[in-house]
Symmetry: C2
Subunit: 332 residues, 2 copies
């Protein structure tokens, strides 16, 4: 944790400036599986800014940009690969705690003598880079890349601002989560001043529901169940009940989380191949990443996840048992 | 529109400082019907700040604080009256464009020689005060009262900050609407620094659903209808279909508004006494307050409302006809 936000003398940030700030070269901006707005917004923003300084930039990762994020400026340049097209002297990864989350694309992406820049705010980051800048106090990697662009004296254009604003907006739940600091809001203010439009971001993220999405959401809401005298709310969806796009767009775990008195909300989605994908959210003091880690997952204190092999029924039982145990260990 | 945000030399703001900033007295903080977070947060914040300076403050209005807003610091002091308990030398009203919206409480509230301070950001404000500070560029009256506290050199405590942050948060839709400016976000940053916690606000506003609220929401979502090739989405709810508290907490008009391609979203709720309450929301360039004004209502360009006597079916037809006409007059 040597990175210090907003402190250009931080050793890690200085090391990144040493790689990116002295003459232009060629770099790969590499995303992780199922890229969200924080990874895409930061890779696109940093890539665009480096291009202003003469760099040649390639962007991609194991999965394509999901449809709701295709409005991000430059998103059309982000490619999906099963392996890296070739090797690059510099690879930048953002918001990725574990290099295995590139599904092997990283393996053939970096020249043996090249740099791997790892910029992240997850506490469980594996420090897999040749330079690791990990700042757990940053609400989003978007805040860190904002600092990096300042340290590199690169101009924040309206397109760059929109990418970074979206990254910060989504990772703070629209400035609602406890990670929202005065600094988060001041950076957001600067980004709006630079041309990011909050209404455009929210229109693209929340106001583009399909006509049939609301009746389907209505059905899903009827499936929420409660446990442990209302402290646990969970939603288990069998394979095919909802599409991946619908599940991602609706952020379904927020609904069980929204019930008064709930301390842990759980979304369990059965996927192809006998895997159940589990999202955990905490309200209050419980750390759900400890629960996720027991099943090989990880994440933040209040938002974590894991993928567990098994049937929907079996995995639901196992996760509920682990949550019950955690509730008993934690002060109410 | 003589008020200038952040400009302490503005004649209107200076006139308010003349009344409130030179020695303490007695004042009534008077809210309008169905008070929301912007009116309550600003009245409570200004009242608390004036008390630090020695003022004697009474708070109230025609309706009580709704349950979801009782977390606002000082909310327990806000009273509901059918008429003012007595006359005050100073009456302050915030976020209220029309004095008739006090249901007559204002009539007996001000001493004949007293001051009526009118602080608002609605473009259709009637300028009914002895001092009128109207700033349509302010996202919320909360921004204006933040400026006023600075102009009065009053300390923003954590409780005051929480009231103002909630006012600004709700009037900007959690920093999502087009009224969110760099200044909005910088004021929010200052308020978080002063002790307002964004996660506490969002927990109280959005994470306190009743156990049966989600299945009920599921049923309501099935009632949304589309018109005009998907440009209009509307939701008509007969009397008793949902409670007032549920309708307010869910902000039901946001659901039809969230569908891609919708330009006008309408919520129609049948109330007791043969009245239908109508909420209108615009996405894009149409001004829905012009539609609301045709039925005796008003509001902002993108969020307006009116109450229309008639049956649910008849009012729905009349409003849809007016919306269709407005759509035909506006560029697509």
């Amino acid at each position: 944790m040597s990175g210090h936000r907003g402190d250009p003398d931080s050793a890690s940030l200085r090391a990144i400036v040493d790689v990116l700030g002295h003459g232009a070269g060629e770099a790969l901006m590499l995303g992780h599986v199922h890229p969200d707005a924080d990874v895409l917004g930061t890779l696109l923003a940093l890539g665009m800014a480096l291009e202003q300084a003469g760099w040649t930039i390639t962007l991609g990762g194991p999965h394509p940009v999901p449809a709701p994020l295709r409005f991000l400026p430059g998103a059309e340049r982000y490619q999906a690969w099963t392996s890296a097209p070739r090797m690059y002297p510099v690879v930048v990864m953002t918001d990725c705690p574990n290099p295995r989350r590139t599904e092997g694309v990283l393996d053939g992406a970096r020249r043996p003598e090249g740099h791997l820049i790892n910029i992240d705010h997850h506490p469980d980051n594996h420090r897999y880079g040749t330079v690791n800048w990990i700042d757990v106090r940053a609400a989003a990697t978007g805040e860190m890349v904002y600092d990096l662009l300042h340290a590199l004296s690169l101009k924040i254009t309206a397109d760059i601002a929109l990418n970074l604003f979206t990254a910060i907006h989504t990772d703070t739940g629209s400035f609602r989560y406890s990670n929202t600091t005065p600094r988060t809001l001041r950076i957001a203010a600067d980004l709006v001043e630079a041309g990011a439009r909050p209404d455009v971001v929210s229109d693209r993220l929340y106001q583009q529901r399909a006509v049939d999405a609301l009746p389907r959401l209505g059905e899903v809401l009827g499936r929420i169940r409660m446990e442990e005298a209302g402290q646990v709310a969970w939603l288990a969806l069998p394979r095919g009940a909802v599409s991946d796009a619908f599940a991602a767009a609706e952020d379904l775990v927020t609904y069980p989380r929204s019930i008064a008195g709930v301390r842990v909300a759980i979304l369990l989605r059965e996927e192809d191949g006998g895997i159940v994908k589990v999202s955990l959210r905490a309200k209050g003091d419980l750390a759900v990443n400890e629960i996720a880690r027991r099943f090989g997952g990880g994440g933040h204190d209040k938002a974590a996840g894991c993928s567990i092999p098994g049937t929907l029924e079996g995995v639901t039982k196992a996760v509920l048992a682990a949550v019950r145990e955690a509730l008993r260990g934690a002060a109410p």
